[in-house]
């Protein structure tokens, strides 16, 4: 699933090389022992040979981190690396301007941009904060017309931007929009109709406004190159007949994720046309209302069985559990199963999961209870990633899952690398057990939904549990903490979390010491997001040595003051320090509601809305 492309798959981004770029004269590589190597004219030929060789070699270098390192060797390497970089990743769209990016990297084929900070997903920031795709598409349209792929996360994209994309880049092939907004079905229609080479159109968890345009019909006639079409987040009905015709003429189609307006009967018809699918999102997985009574039900089982390549299954947006047996034939092949919109019980899950021996990624709702998790633990020995979401996402709701299911998973799924677990109760013992049973953990996100909730058996803070995680899981790079936590927990994190790059904190800690421990102790820290914790200006100052190494710091509802933030802004000129007020907050109090700061080569951005003050 594309959702798997989380931040934790990234390699570390070294600081922008422009900042560290020193005089090149001392480091210019000259191959021959020519005497007067200071004039380029004389050493042109050897340099040229070197550059050609370098260019060929650097083409093979794919890792961003390696490329960033290579670009720092000398001016020559910097230049060649810039010419050969085909995939450009920018983790914060405001860290560098489109002009600077296009000036340096002229032959980019793929652009990967990230915009808003993650906490914006939880309504902690007013809308229209920024992260507009527009300046980027315009700059690239002029400078890099051979751009083929665009991947955006948390950015605002308008219909016009989509039109520009389709019109300016003739060979455009892939568009992936994750958690984006600002566009609608009419923008999609224009984009699709003009993009003759389109292979991938993935809309994931994005907000698409319903302009009542039949965008599916806009795919050009004739055989299509489409390999992936994901639109499960589009909340409006689609022209099914057009979709059916599209699928029929897309022999390369491997990934298809339907929205909830596609009934199971329609799904059947599509699957019959596309048995070569590897990734399928089933849509509603229930019959449409106009089911003919007495009409024979199609043979879903055989149809699913015919899809021998199916490895990734999702959807089930309005599931009628009676139809679940249809997927039995493919369970044994599945490596990824997303039931996170299917409100099913343990009993309904068991016949499915007991056949999923190869499952590596499993997303599910807590409706399956501890019992369901035990069933998962019993069969899914290859499980790498587990996400358990709450049906009822409120603090004081009943918790169908607890430390019991959690511990069972740790005992059964020893290869676990990534876990996201929402629950109402947890114990240190269970967390400690997981730290021992699953040493390969890279991502550990535990959300005990009640704020400040302690170990529900011993009543103690959850310090020891999280401490064990950082101590025993030596590969850990991403951590999200919750429950009742004292400064001690953060002491552990600072002491043992040496590889931690992303840390999320909410309603935790007692004092500034907690934040100090982390800022002073975690050298790899890139992304730090904190809310509602008692950390003040003194703590903020303790990170001055590190902020240029970080992508961003978010602190909301903490104890920061304007003076404190101002101090940071003065001390660090390459840091953009944004103070964000909630939209309806009129007056300016001394306390800072939200601080969002990030390194940037460009200084304060010029598109900041009224509620943002840049210090």
């Amino acid at each position: 699933m594309a959702e798997q492309m989380s931040d934790d798959d990234e390699r570390q981004q070294s600081p922008p090389s422009d900042l560290d770029f020193t005089s090149n004269k001392a480091r210019t590589c000259i191959v021959t022992g020519s005497v007067s190597g200071h004039t380029e004219f004389q050493s042109l030929y050897p340099d040229q040979v070197l550059e050609n060789v370098l260019e060929n070699v650097l083409h093979f270098l794919t890792s961003r981190r390696d490329r960033n390192s290579a670009s720092l060797v000398c001016k020559s390497w910097y230049r060649v690396e810039a010419l050969t970089r085909s995939e450009l990743f920018i983790g914060n769209c405001y860290a560098v301007s489109p002009a600077r990016a296009t000036a340096r990297f002229t032959r980019v084929r793929a652009l990967h941009l990230k915009g808003r900070p993650r906490f914006a997903d939880f309504n902690l920031m007013p809308p229209d904060w920024g992260a507009h795709f527009n300046p980027w598409v315009l700059a690239f349209a002029k400078a890099c017309p051979w751009l083929e792929k665009v991947y955006l996360k948390r950015m605002s994209v308008t219909d016009d931007d989509l039109a520009t994309l389709a019109e300016s880049f003739l060979g455009f092939k892939e568009l992936v929009l994750v958690c984006c907004d600002g566009f609608g079905t009419s923008g999609l229609a224009i984009f699709i109709s003009k993009c003759r080479q389109l292979k991938v159109l993935d809309l994931i968890e994005s907000e698409v406004s319903d302009d009542e345009t039949d965008w599916i019909s806009c795919f050009p006639e004739g055989e299509s190159h489409l390999e992936s079409l994901i639109f499960d987040c589009v909340e409006c009905p689609i022209n099914f007949e057009a979709l059916e015709r599209l699928v029929a003429r897309s022999p390369s189609l491997k990934k298809l994720r339907l929205n909830r307006y596609v009934s199971i009967g329609q799904l059947y018809r599509l699957m019959v046309q596309a048995p070569q699918l590897t990734h399928l999102g089933t849509g509603s997985f229930s019959p449409s209302e106009v089911a003919g009574q007495g009409d024979q039900e199609p043979d879903y089982v055989t149809t699913f069985a015919a899809c021998k390549s199916l490895v990734c299954l999702s959807g089930f947006r309005e599931i009628i559990p009676d139809y679940l047996p249809a997927i039995y034939p493919i369970c044994a092949n599945l490596t990824s199963l997303n039931f996170s919109y299917a409100n099913i019980t343990a009993e309904q899950l068991k016949p499915i999961i007991s056949n999923c021996h190869k499952l590596q990624v499993f997303w599910v709702l807590d409706s399956i209870c501890d019992e369901g998790l035990k069933a998962v633990a019993a069969t899914c020995k290859e499980l790498r990633e587990l996400r358990v979401f709450p049906v009822d996402a409120r603090e004081d709701s009943d918790g169908p899952v607890s430390e019991v299911g959690f511990q069972a998973i740790s005992e059964g799924c020893r290869k676990l690398q990534s876990i996201l677990y929402f629950c109402q109760r947890m114990t240190n013992a269970a967390v400690i057990a997981m730290s021992r049973n699953c040493p390969d953990l890279v991502v550990f996100r535990l959300c005990i939904m009640g704020r400040h909730r302690p170990d529900h058996v011993t009543g103690e803070p959850m310090d020891d549990g999280f401490g064990a995680i950082v101590m025993n899981c030596k590969k850990l790079t991403r951590l999200a903490v919750s429950g009742l936590l004292t400064d001690k927990a953060f002491d552990y994190i600072g002491r043992y979390g040496k590889l931690v790059r992303t840390l999320s904190v909410a309603f935790a800690g007692d004092s500034d010491m907690a934040l100090k421990y982390v800022l002073e102790g975690c050298p790899q820290l890139q992304k730090l997001e904190i809310r509602d914790s008692p950390f003040g200006d003194a703590a903020l100052c303790s990170g001055l040595h590190h902020y240029y190494n970080m992508r961003f710091l978010w602190m909301s509802s903490c104890r920061l003051t304007h003076q404190g933030c101002q101090q940071i802004a003065r001390a660090m000129p390459r840091l953009v320090v944004e103070v964000i007020r909630s939209a309806d907050e009129e007056e300016v109090y001394d306390r800072v509601q939200t601080l969002y700061m990030y390194r940037s080569l460009e200084g304060p951005r010029n598109d900041a809305p009224k509620f943002v003050t840049i210090l």
Binding site: F119, G294, I320, S340, A393, G459, P534
Partner: protein, 249 residues
């Protein structure tokens, strides 16, 4: 954002962040120093704040913790952060008030929250989560009954229940599934010519159908009322049933 406004108001009015009466115990419950309340069932309060407590102590304290958590709000953040000493306050352990929901907590994306809310709404609308009560009339019976179709998982169970309600409604020629065997034309004709009772139902469109045709769940969703009629009277429904029989044969 309500949170922000609340905090801002607090700050505007008071500089001394000494909200003792709302200060709540963050430390280990054994650390209730001064304000040992009468309401608490805990008899002895250990003077050590960070010491571990024995299990017996925790049992008593459970209720206390609940109530503390439930009344904890963001005021907690305004506590004097210098002091690590947490004094507990007496809270009525009996009835924790409902928590105000905090913005963006728990951290579930609004996209997902909306979907779950929509699922809940639509299932409530179509009565999936509630009961599916339908009137049941039987020819010749003096009064009607009501059954909740959600109580049953299959036609068999429904048959049994109806049989209990109306003692003259027997299984008769229904076959092993307790359903009318549509596949067998002669059996069907026998049934409809007999004086045995046959269940029929009125569906969403207002048509009267013989029970047993569609999958159970679909039946539950579309059935508006049930009528148990004599086989001979059900002959009016039979042409449809006969057509279906023929089309399947």
């Amino acid at each position: 954002m309500e949170v922000g406004r609340k905090m801002a108001n607090m700050l505007g009015t008071e500089h001394d962040l000494n909200f003792k009466e709302t200060e709540l115990c963050l430390g280990l419950p054994g650390g209730i120093a001064v304000v040992a309340a009468g309401n608490e069932t805990e008899s002895s309060s250990s003077p050590k704040i960070n010491g571990k407590r024995g299990f017996s102590e925790t049992v008593d304290l459970k209720l206390n913790l609940q109530s503390k958590e439930s009344t904890m709000d963001l005021n907690k953040n305004l506590d004097d952060n210098g002091s690590k000493e947490k004094s507990g306050s007496a809270k009525d352990p009996a009835k924790p008030p409902a928590k105000a929901q905090v913005v963006g907590w728990p951290p579930v994306r609004s996209y997902r929250k909306n979907i779950m809310a929509n699922q809940k709404n639509s299932s409530e609308e179509s009565g999936n989560s509630g009961a599916a009560l339908v009137k049941v009339s039987m020819d010749g019976a003096p009064y009607l009954r009501k059954v909740d179709l959600k109580m049953y998982k299959s036609y068999q169970e429904l048959s049994d229940a109806l049989a209990k309600m109306f003692s003259s409604f027997t299984m008769g020629n229904y076959g092993p599934q307790g359903m009318i065997d549509f596949m067998n034309e002669s059996k069907l004709m026998d049934l409809l010519n007999s004086s045995d009772y046959v269940p029929s139902y009125e569906d969403k469109d207002g048509d009267w159908m013989l029970v047993g045709d569609v999958p159970w769940q679909m039946f539950v969703d579309s059935c508006k009322r049930l009528r148990i009629m004599k086989g001979s009277e059900a002959i009016g429904l039979a042409p449809r049933a006969m057509e279906k029989c023929k089309s399947r044969a």
